[in-house]
Amino acid sequence: MQPLTIRRIVLTCAVLAAVLFAVSVISLKLGAYPMSARDVVLTLVRRAIGHTDAIPSDFRLVIFGLRLPRIALGILVGVALSVSGAGFQALLRNPLADPYVLGVSSGAALGAILSLVFTPHVPLAMQGAAFLGAAATIAAVYFLGRRGGQLDSATLLLAGILSASFLSAIIMFLMTTLSGRDLRGMAFWLMGDLSTAPPDWNLLGSLYVVLLAAVGAIYTTSSDLNLILTGEQEARHLGVNVGRVKLVVYVSASLLTGLAVSVSGSIGYVGLIVPHVMRMLFGSDYRILIPTTALGGAIAIVAADTLARTVVAPTELPVGAMTALAGAPVFIYLLRRRLP
């Protein structure tokens, strides 16, 4: 591996951004509403230069009301899930760590379901409840995972796994005992779904602010994370405030998970696989791993969602099914290849 320079980080990210751009443009062109590439480009250009009156109203609805918000949502979810996965993996020094393993997404899902039952028509209640659910699960797992005054990775992981199954059991219980139309969409949502409702730009804007803040917070710890990964004692001797770094990563990563789950349900495998692939491609230095993981996660979700809504169009598959379908074999392949 060549030495890590700012130039290398920027160049790598620029290339990944170019790939993400290409995937997004392809996604913008594909869909149940037939549109030629020329129409798509014309619509974008007209809107960019302000000639909005010249855009047919259907094109406007499809591009700006459906496809572009969905791509923006896919990028948001992809970045949030993969970066939180990378964060949890560093935190626990465990390659299997992932928002799902730790129970964080189950907590967020439970919060969202409770809000659907008790405050079904309050706007943003579901997002807020998912945040709260994720935060409460984190607090519980964090508390349970402490041993002798400090976080113990194995105990924490076990606490996470137990919380995940406990919370899933509560979700199953609620879904069986409470009936009503508001829970019928849950099956899609639990599998991970971006199709439920095209988000509006104001909501997306505020979610992106949270996303950037949390990803930024994790990125500021990346040099410290590199040291912690070589050993906590060593890092401590080198002057790293290990407790503070862990807390920052833990809170930011949970925030990211709550964010992703509140808008898209439980999309699996992205938080696990994308950081691993990026490690294999670009090395495990967190200064390059965090930005490439963010972009890689965005690429993965936008691509998976494009497939989900086009392979059997007009019927849409849940994007979580696509990521699991593509992600699990890729992961097994990568694991096998790494074996000596």
Partner: protein, 335 residues
Amino acid sequence: MAGSPIFLVGLFYWSHLKRRRGSRNLLAVAAGLAALGWAALVLAALGPAVCAAQNAPTRVVIDETDRKINVPAEVRRIVSIAPSVTETIYALGAEARLVGDTDYCDDPPEAKTKPHVGALLNPSFEAILALKPDLVISSAINRPETVLALERLGVPVYATDPRSVEGTVDSIEGLGELIGAERAGKMLAAQLRARLDNLHRRLAGRPPKRVLFVVWEDPLISVGPNTFLADALRQAGAESVVETTQDWPKLSLEEAVRLQPEALVFASAGAGTKSDDYDGLRERPGWGALEAVKQGRIAVVSDALDRPAPRMIDAIEQLARQLHPEAFGAQEGKR
């Protein structure tokens, strides 16, 4: 603009690398182009929005969920996102104006040839827009989120929400008025009401049969009292043995044996008579312990029973005939 940081970073990097030679130049140019593209995309997304001008004359109607909606004075292009709505539109003779329905709209069979817009819980908004509807009609089987999302896209959605058999007939009449088939709607509704009245007269004074309605066999799922299926059972002179607050309760077979219903009721596609398919139940563990199974008191009715559309009345009549053959005279006991 939000695009400019990406743009600037790209530009900076590009100019920085221009001084270097070699294969990296190509990468740098590609990165620069991507940055430009991103800037354009973000600019486009954040550009000024316009509202589509509505030039067709509209009228305001209130749908069955008490939403006020703007409907064109004359509805010409309807997309149905519920099988019951599709069936009703055909029954009203307005199928020429139906331009799209769902993957699950199978009755009448011609409905399967209409362009589909996807499944009931997540229809494709793009496919709906592509059909250029001036009205989308939904039912209680759809999700409220779907209705809201379509509304946000500027497509008027009329939500039907029948909660009982009589409510279904009212809903059919209302749909006729909505889509310009007022006379057909009134006639159809009057006919259906007359048939229900006739049924009530025949069943008057007869105690309702205690039945177990089997929605699903394994696991055993039945119906709760607040569903319109429960009302359909009542209209057919039956009552569900299951006491629950849930709409789709899951029962153990043990509970079913304890309740010992007088008859089992199955809804199945293309049914109208007792079917041999259900003789096998006798051999299955648990089911054989049910008196109704031992004595073959199994009613099988058309699956139209759980669709709030005109054929539901047929299914109710079928069920009433099977449960109360004496009320219809001996020769009419079986069809």
